[in-house]
Amino acid sequence: MYETTYHRPASVAEAVSLFSNASDGRFLAGGQTLIPTMKQRLAAPSDVIDVGKIAEMRGIEVSGDTVSIGAAMTHAEVAASEAVRGAIPALAGMAGMIGDPAVRHRGTLGGSLANNDPAADYPAGVLALGATIHTDKREIAAEDFFQGMFSTALEDGEVITRVVFQVPEKAAYAKFRNPASGYAMAGVFVARMKDGAVRVGVTGASGNGVFRSSEIEQALLGSWSAEAIAPLAISPEDMLSDIHGSAAYRANLVKVMARRAVASIA
């Protein structure tokens, strides 16, 4: 790893100011992607600004129809939270499926979203639940946030502080893990919102990163059942194709995961 300078700011304002003074700064949340990347010398930030312990980026609040989760909350904390398990059990369940136990003890919600790995789980949940991403500067709707793999609406030096999720009527997540790496080859988060809208977020499968499947949404709007998805032919266009699976295989996995997710709560 190349040399770097580590900072642990106490507030979001201090973190942002440290970033603007750095020649090539990077925010560090749980570090479960950034640190391995630095070890491989694929990233060499001059300054690492640790936002993982900032108080205003912590905590979980449920109020009415929303769940607000601090960006620095770890996957293990979200998975174990009684508040999240009560309001959106599918979200807590999904957090408990990320990586492995030791990774879940450090990795964070904000870090996962800012990185926007095409196989990350959280983006599917954020998109399906119509979440709003709060930063130090503004609020960004999930639709506008994800902009292709490893790419987001965040500007340089902008920090995610909280994510506010809508509580759905019901929701579920199913993923097919790559048997070696454990990463999602297809992960589908289905949600029926309280106003009747259906939202489906798909991760792991597309070359463009996380996306909403309008075909599956339309089918579920007609009838909320696994059978409604069965006749669909998901297009393999834009799907990833690599040694782990062809585009057609991944397109089929998306359908199968959507059916499993719906069946798990039908």
């Binding site: 790893m1 580590y6 640190i35 391995p36 070890k39 136990p101 030791a102 990774v103 003890h105 454990g182």
Partner: protein
């Protein structure tokens, strides 16, 4: 360079570290606690798992400076008064190892598993929980048996 103060296996330690020093490098190279292993360098194998403030973490995937003020427990610190920790004893009893390289990480993960999930662990749960610990010798059969027995032994202690 920064000076950090932490507690390692119950002892106060102060160390001078570079900002880029990983926790596992501090443990192995400065403190000579070589029971914590480096298996993969890509955060997958779990040979480096230690407890940071009581919680299992991969010491190759955090900076030493992030452990400033923390309490660290490594495999060297789990035995009590010269007696093996029940989880260590179970690994010996059930032969939960072959070459032994992954064993420290397995045991630290197993103790954390019991902390979170209790001592009544079925085989499927244990196998799933070992997702972040790789063994290239055993095929996991005896590791699972050892953890199941070790968990029960921890409860009766």
């Amino acid at each position: 360079m920064s000076t950090i103060a932490l507690k390692v296996n119950g002892k106060d330690v102060s160390a001078e570290v570079e900002d880029r020093t990983l926790l596992v490098e501090l443990l192995r190279e400065e403190l000579k606690l070589t029971g914590t292993h480096i298996g993969c360098d890509t955060s997958q194998c779990g040979a480096c798992v230690v407890h940071v403030d009581g919680v299992a973490m991969k010491s190759c995937t955090m900076f030493a400076i992030q452990a400033d003020g923390a309490e660290i427990r490594t495999i060297e610190g789990v035995a009590q008064q010269g007696a093996l920790h029940p989880m260590q004893a179970a690994f010996a009893e059930h032969h939960g190892l072959q070459c032994g390289f992954c064993t420290p990480g397995m045991i630290m993960t197993a103790i954390d598993m019991v902390r979170r999930l209790g001592s009544d662990l079925d085989e499927a749960t244990i196998r799933h929980e070992l997702e972040g610990n790789i063994c290239r010798c055993t095929g996991y059969q005896n590791i699972v048996k050892a953890i199941q027995a070790g968990a029960r032994a921890m409860a009766s202690q």
